[in-house]
Symmetry: C2
Subunit: 75 residues, 2 copies
């Protein structure tokens, strides 16, 4: 059950989607810029609620932003 890790494409989505900035995304989902930086950098995984909010901003299903993959698997 372990060895898995949460991955995300927030950074890619920010550029594909409106070229939105970290600060703008942070504002839209109601967190600080630090939180976005930490998530993009994989420092920690967001709460489920925040994950849903981010997906909403980009207008895509949650699993298109976040995925749960085996540790070593490079995309």
């Amino acid at each position: 059950m372990d060895k898995y890790k949460v991955r995300n494409n927030v950074r890619k989505l920010r550029f594909n989607h409106d070229e939105i900035t970290q600060e703008q995304l942070a504002e839209k989902v109601g967190v600080t810029r630090q939180t976005i930086i930490a998530i993009e950098g994989g420092k920690y995984a967001p709460s489920l609620e925040l994950a849903f909010k981010i997906a909403l901003v980009f207008g895509v299903p949650l699993q298109e932003v976040f995925s749960y993959e085996l540790e070593g698997d490079e995309k």
Copy 2:
């Protein structure tokens, strides 16, 4: 952006899926029974990682277990 709430069908899935018990689910995903109780009862939403783990146990995509809906909307 707000007025939304995280909903889940963990309880239903436990019965549809193998009639698994709270304790067994807790064990499988590596948390305590209390955590499962709290999530089922909507006391709080799980971390993204735990949400993924639960979905994995039931063999369904995350959005089939958890959803992000407008506060009042009864399914």
